[in-house]
Symmetry: C2
Subunit: 266 residues, 2 copies
C-alpha cells in the first residue's frame, strides 16, 4: 500500500503562512479535508517559516488539523524541542520528518527519537554532502537503518529518502536513484522508500509530467511512498494506476473506484 | 534510442481498409507523413484483412507509402509468400512482423528468413499457448534468439515480444512481464524488447492512462520499443520523458524539443 505524505500544510507556502498568521482555522481545515478525501495517508505539518513562532504555530496547527481529520500526522521540523512538544499533542503514532547522517542533525534527532513511538523519515545525507553514486545512497541507507535499529526502530517504521537530484543537471540521476532504491528494498527488507518528487524536474519546463513519469519509474523499482500534493489529480491517477500495475490493487478495485469518481482519466 | 513501430496502416482498421479498397493513396500517404513527423521509427504495414487481396494490397501499400516517406517499413504478415514479394519491393532493410515458436508459424517463417537482410519481431508464443510465468517468457526468448542466431541473426536485429497479458485478468501480469524483460535484456545483451501495449488494459476503463503508465514501467526495466500509435500525443510525451529519465536524451534535447513543439505538456 503506497504511503502518500500530503505536503500542503507548509508555512513556506504563502497562502498557508497567511492562514497561520491570521489563525484562519477554516482555511487549514478545508485544505486538510481535501487532502484526506484525495487519499493522503499522512498530513505533513511544517510550521518553520515564521521565525520565532514555530512552537506556537505548530501547536495551533496540530490542534486545528486534528479537529478536521483522523489521519496521522507527519511532524516536519529540524528542531527536537518543537518535535518534543508536537509529540505530546498528537493522538496517533506520527511520522517524524526527518533525521540524516549530518552530525549536527543526527545527534539531537537521535537523542529525541529514543523511546518514542513513531515512524521516521531518514535522509541519505551526510557531512560530505549530497550522494554522488548508487553506493553513496545505499551505504548511507544501511548506516541510517543500522543506527535507528539500535534504538528499537524496525524496518517498517523507517522511510528512507534517497535524495532525488535533477535529471537536467546529470542525465544519469534518475537511473542512479532507481538502482539505489532497488538495492535498498532488496537488501533492507520492509524498509520504505519515500522522497520529494519535484527535485527530479528542477530547471526543466513542464515539470509535472516529468515528476509523474519519474514516480512510475520509482514505483517500478520499489519506492512505496512520496511526499507530494494529493490534490494534483494527474499525479494521484499515476499513483493509483502504478499501484494496480505493481499488483497491489486486488481486482483493480481502487483503480476502478478512481475512474468512477472521475479522478482517473486518460 | 527507443524504436517506435507505428501501427496505423493496418487493414483491420475500417478507415484504412476503405482507403485500400478505394486505392486512396492520399489518405494513406497523409497518415504515414503524420506518423513520420510524430517520431515513428518504422511504419508497420498490415494488408491482411481483405481476404484474397493481401498480396495486391501489400504491393500497392508499399509503393504508395515509399513515395511518402523514407522511413523503413515493418512488414506485417503471417504469410511468407506475401513477405517474399514485399521484401523485393522495399528500399530499406525492413523489420518483419513476426515469427513465433508455434510449429505452423515457426517452420515457414524460419525458411523465409534464411539469407534475408532484415530485422525480426519474435513472439514468446509456442504450441502450449500464452506464457504463464516469467520462466516461460524468458526460456522462449532464449530459444527464439538461439534459433535465429543459427541463421545469422544478431541480437541487435531481434525484437522480442514478451506477449503482454491483461492486468484485469491477473494483477500479477505486469510484474511478470517486467521481471521477464529485465531478465531478457540482462541475459541476451543487445536484444530489443517490443510489444503491443494495449493488451495490458484489456477489459478496463480509461485504457490510455493504463497503457501509458505501463509503458513507463516497462521502459524502466529495459523495454526499448513498442508497437504503438505515434499520433497518441500523451503516449509519445510519455516515451520522450521516459527516455530522458532513462538517461537516453543528452542535455534533455529531445524532451525540450517536444516541449517547444507543444507535444509534451504537463
Amino acid at each position: 500500500m503506497f504511503t502518500i505524505i500530503g505536503e500542503r500544510i507548509n508555512t513556506t507556502l504563502k497562502m498557508v503562512q497567511a492562514a497561520v498568521a491570521d489563525r484562519d482555522a477554516d482555511y487549514i481545515q478545508d485544505d486538510v479535508i481535501q487532502q484526506a478525501e484525495a487519499g493522503a495517508t499522512y498530513i505533513d505539518v511544517n510550521a518553520g517559516a515564521r521565525i520565532g513562532h514555530e512552537t506556537e504555530d505548530m501547536k495551533w496547527l496540530l490542534e486545528v488539523i486534528q479537529k478536521a481529520t483522523d489521519l496521522p500526522l507527519c511532524l516536519d521540523s529540524p528542531d527536537p524541542d518543537v518535535l518534543e512538544i508536537a509529540y505530546g499533542l498528537v493522538s496517533q503514532k506520527p511520522l517524524v520528518n526527518s533525521i540524516s547522517l549530518e552530525k549536527d542533525r543526527f545527534e539531537p534527532m537521535f537523542a529525541y527519537l529514543q523511546g518514542k513511538e513513531c515512524r521516521i523519515i531518514a535522509l541519505c545525507m551526510d557531512d560530505s554532502g549530497m550522494p554522488r553514486s548508487v553506493d553513496d545512497i545505499v551505504s548511507r541507507a544501511h548506516r541510517l537503518v543500522g543506527e535507528l535499529g539500535r534504538i528499537g526502530f524496525k524496518h517498517e517504521d523507517i522511510f528512507i529518502d534517497p535524495l532525488i537530484q535533477p535529471v537536467g543537471v546529470d542525465t544519469n540521476n534518475c537511473r542512479m536513484a532507481m538502482a539505489a532504491v532497488k538495492a535498498i528494498t532488496t537488501e533492507l527488507e520492509g524498509v520504505h522508500v519515500t522522497g520529494g518528487l519535484s527535485n527530479i524536474s528542477y530547471g526543466l519546463p513542464q515539470r509535472r509530467i516529468v515528476n509523474r513519469t519519474f514516480l512510475s519509474f520509482m514505483m517500478a523499482v520499489g519506492m512505496d511512498s512520496a511526499i507530494m500534493d494529493p490534490l494534483d489529480s494527474a499525479l494521484m491517477a499515476c499513483v493509483r494506476t502504478s499501484e494496480m500495475l505493481n499488483g497491489n490493487d486486488d481486482y483493480c478495485m481502487n483503480f476502478l473506484k478512481g475512474v468512477r469518481a472521475g479522478t482517473i482519466v486518460s
